[in-house]
């Protein structure tokens, strides 16, 4: 069986000459259909850049990405965006502040030429647990958690197969984070979605994903299953460091 997403030796380089930054250097992983796959690492490890490269938001300078067995086209065509959608970290920055929720959700539908905007918008809002009452509000009238739900609704409205989640809860309070994680999990099961989840928080990834890849300095450190993580069976020092750090402060 072939994987739904196949990433091989992905490289992303920004700039040239002395200014050159090699943000991702040769990262490979497979994600199966219906699976939730985690990318973990600290800031600057290149984990978000991997997602952005898949989406066409960062230049791929090496390697290949296959989705459903087909190589990606550059620039990505509309069919790609019907299959793959992204949810960004900051719900305060990713939604147009002067557009109503209705307009935010209509835009992808208009771009892709969907006719049944009315029913789709209502269904997307229901799916993320907001309800119709929110349709004509502005982002500033919503809380952070509600905005992130709108961002998820916007990603879902085209009925994609794959969601790329870039730190979807790190801007939210712990109690709201639990709600959004539960929502994402329920949606994945209901709609048979495939997730690639990026997070700096090992606990979030271990909760959401059966397999994960630890990254550092743009390179893959190691791939682990959730069971191996829970058994603390990390083979690399860096992963062990992360595990220790996630347990909180210990007085010397």
């Amino acid at each position: 069986m072939t994987a739904l997403i196949e990433v091989r030796d992905l490289a992303v380089t920004f700039g040239s000459g002395r200014q050159q930054v090699r943000a991702v250097r040769g990262v490979s992983f497979d994600v199966e259909q219906g699976e939730s796959f985690g990318l973990v690492g600290e800031s600057g490890s290149g984990k978000s850049t991997v997602l952005r490269a898949i989406c066409g938001l960062a230049p791929m300078t090496g390697g290949t990405v296959h989705i459903g067995g087909k190589p990606l086209k550059t620039p990505r065509d509309p069919a790609f965006y019907q299959q793959v959608q992204m949810v960004f970290q900051d719900p305060y920055g990713s939604i147009h502040p002067r557009h109503t929720i209705d307009r935010v959700l209509s835009e992808p539908l208009a771009i892709h030429g969907f006719k049944d905007a009315e029913t789709r918008i209502e269904r997307a809002l229901e799916d993320v647990g907001l309800g119709r009452g929110f349709r004509f509000r502005y982002p500033h009238q919503l809380s952070g958690g509600q905005r992130q739900r709108v961002a998820i609704a916007r990603a879902l409205i085209l009925e994609p197969q794959i969601l790329l989640l870039d730190e979807p809860t790190s801007a939210l309070d712990a109690s709201i984070q639990a709600e959004v994680l539960n929502l994402l999990d329920a949606l994945r099961v209901d709609k048979g979605l495939t997730y690639v989840l990026v997070s700096h928080d090992l606990a979030v990834v271990s909760h959401m994903c059966r397999r994960l890849l630890v990254m550092q300095h743009g390179q893959a450190v190691e791939e682990l299953t959730r069971d191996a993580l829970q058994a603390r069976a990390a083979t690399k020092d860096y992963t062990r460091q992360l595990l220790v750090a996630s347990e909180g402060f210990k007085a010397p």
Partner: protein, 277 residues
Amino acid sequence: MTDMLQVKGLNVAFPSRDGPVRVVRDVSFTLGRERLGIVGESGSGKSQTGRAILGLTPASGTVTADRLTFDGIDLRKASARTWRSLRGPRMSMIMQDPKYSLNPVMTIGRQIVEAYRRRGNAARGDARSKAIAMLEAVQIRDPERVFRAYPHELSGGMGQRAMIAMMLIAEPDLLIADEVTSALDVTVQLDVLKILDDLVRDRGMGLIFISHDLRLVSSFCDRVLVMYAGRVVEQIAARDLKNAQHPYTQGLLNCLPQIDGDSAPLPTLTRDPAWLA
């Protein structure tokens, strides 16, 4: 021993179209030479509590308190002159975001030297070597470069550490750390906590550690205040946090995902209007 900081019945309110909004309500606590954590969600009033203690409430807000003393000085009636002698040398605050709290057009070195010279008549050369030593103390590997750098030339973690160096060089008796580690990577977080821990241990500083991260606070602080909608709903020793009584504290603890947890839906927090009463 009397407590360094005494707060009783602290209220902070901001005017709005619908009348005053009370963001801090009847908060009382005392602080000795220890690590006190204040935890709560955004909007629970934890940062405003910290700001009110330092007299940094925005001008539109009103602060009232039955008692607000620092080392026997009544802060409610403090003059601008008193405040100047207190802020910096005696009590200071590390803000959340180094991007906004450092002066963007001054080098890190000048800012630290300024903070040091403000507390006395230190010689310029002396201040410089002291600043470099302080940058070293906060685990900055190349202090000479950071001394000459502007804030935009540093990463978030470096900026945060530079800011900590600036606050600590004045050797305050009371330090309020407002979400200092939230923007940092987990491994850097522990370095910064270690620095703060050493200061409390070795210099007998009092620390108020404001954070939304209940797990971190419980592993770092001695005592924790849990705030909800401007109120302190529970005050508890950090090691007893697992046996917290208030449903809000319990809810906050349980809704965190855990590495060893299963993938069952996380318990979510149900808010009881009675908590506001």
